[in-house]
Symmetry: C2
Subunit: 270 residues, 2 copies
DNA sequence: TAGTGGTCTAGACCACAAG
DNA sequence: TTGTGGTCTAGACCACTAC
């Protein structure tokens, strides 16, 4: 099924509260395949997202109203709304009652993801490497037990790693995991990131609580990361939960502040 | 309208992949007021959220199925689904096809909000105060112009503030705003936070891009914040956008790492 | 096989914004 | 007044899970 969607372009102008102004209409090719196993609303939202990404739907442009769009595609209005809503949730579209649905103006990227240092480095073309400094089972200290929700003194897995990029140390990672959660080989830990291994083991990561701070490096930390003594370090502690709410990982990480910073996109909850 | 909702309690046990186990049933009081202007799905989601918050719905417990719940409350299934979905989006519930809807196990708090240092301090009972060090209009440097999406050299508002708690400096805040966006009195800036003033001026904050890092304090910065020279500082840069996608604020902040850290909750996008 | 959530329809009425 | 999104209904069929 295929439809030509007229898109009303909007040219913004300097003003405290800009009003939408309709300038022209651009045809937008949309279609859904009812024989596909992909849900119809998802097909539509992906096409709209691609159109926004590729600039076919320009920032500020108005989508046609939902009823007409549904009619053109042969879908019901709730289905079209579901597609649009998913993009509103991603921050790509804004709805205004009595006005319409507009493409957001800014270069909004992705909402914050549960970031993996390994993936971040790889995406930045930094060729990450990992040295496993220690991989043991230890009794949980009071702090670790509280974070992981296990009994104090019960056995937990402890992994200490040094993450490098281009052969230079970037961060020191210390992680604790409940025993029995997954099999972990030291070789695997040197080849990829912890989150990938957990996902591959069938663990569905759901949420995490993070604390980011800074402090001066101790002599041992400075030595480990190749920084001068007293250099500023970026610190991150994180507890990660799976979809049943169990804590599946507690980590204490220190990053060379001269080499790394956290960047993320926030959406204001409405 | 009132209904008794039976809740199947779930007792978890140590296991790599825990299965739900039904132990007992707890009645849950739910009702909706059809004469209220508050949407029905919202009334329901608020009551469910309160029940989770207060421990009436315990972590791991199963909600009854959607059809039955709809019948008990005299609502349609899509309305009940909308209520449940909003809590799933908040990370409070998890749905599993063929199983049911469960309360998440962990102490998941709020998803990440666009944080305001002023509000954070106030919520922590720290009695925040602000010193306005400068409040001027200046030509935009290339960096500020790029961040705010205005022409280089065009006039922008510049605000420099020192944020204190209990009379102690906590952070140095330097912000740039497009001119004409809102009226700002120095007195207002000393009484509350910038975000509150922007919201009060009718600006709908929508998203922000943040970078968090660390570095050693310069002598001037150390002096300003009452830290020794070379002390580690936590730095944050932020561009905030409104719902039309315009950049409405660009800020460069430095925090005393000994006094402040960022804490936030992440939900893994699914 | 039975029960669950996932998806979808074809309507309806209302609240809000704009002209 | 007109048009938009916001909410709601009463069904339907399907996919997945557990027994």
């Amino acid at each position: 099924m295929t439809a030509q969607l007229p898109v009303n372009q909007h040219r913004s102008y300097a003003r405290a509260v800009p009003k939408p102004e309709v300038d022209q209409t651009v045809p937008l090719q949309l279609s859904v395949d009812r024989n596909s196993p992909v849900p119809l609303y998802f097909q539509l939202s992906q096409q709209l997202e691609a159109a926004i990404e590729h600039g076919v739907l320009t920032p500020g442009s108005l989508l046609g109203n939902e009823i007409e769009l549904a009619g053109r595609l042969g879908l019901s209005r709730p289905t079209v709304r579901q597609a649009i809503q998913s993009l509103v949730d991603k921050g790509l579209l804004v709805r205004r009652r009595g006005v319409g649905t507009q493409v957001v103006h800014s270069q909004v990227k992705r909402p914050l993801e549960l970031s993996s240092l390994y993936d971040d480095l790889e995406a930045a073309g930094q060729r990450p490497a990992t040295q496993v400094l220690a991989h043991t089972h230890v009794p949980a200290t009071a702090e670790v037990a509280a974070r992981l929700g296990v009994g104090e003194g019960s056995e937990v897995r402890c992994v200490e790693r040094l993450r490098l990029a281009h052969g230079e140390p970037m961060a020191y990672l210390c992680n604790f995991l409940p025993t029995g959660l997954l099999e972990l080989e030291t070789g695997q830990l040197e080849a990829t990131g912890l989150y990938r291994l957990m996902r591959a083991a069938g663990i569905t990561l759901h949420s995490a609580r993070q604390t980011v701070g800074a402090r001066a490096a101790t002599p041992a930390e400075a030595e480990r990361l190749g920084e001068p003594a007293g250099a500023p370090l970026l610190t991150m502690q994180r507890i990660t939960y799976d979809d049943t709410g169990r804590a599946v990982e507690y980590g204490t990480h220190t990053y060379r502040a001269s080499r790394y910073s956290f960047e993320f996109q926030l959406l204001v909850r409405s």
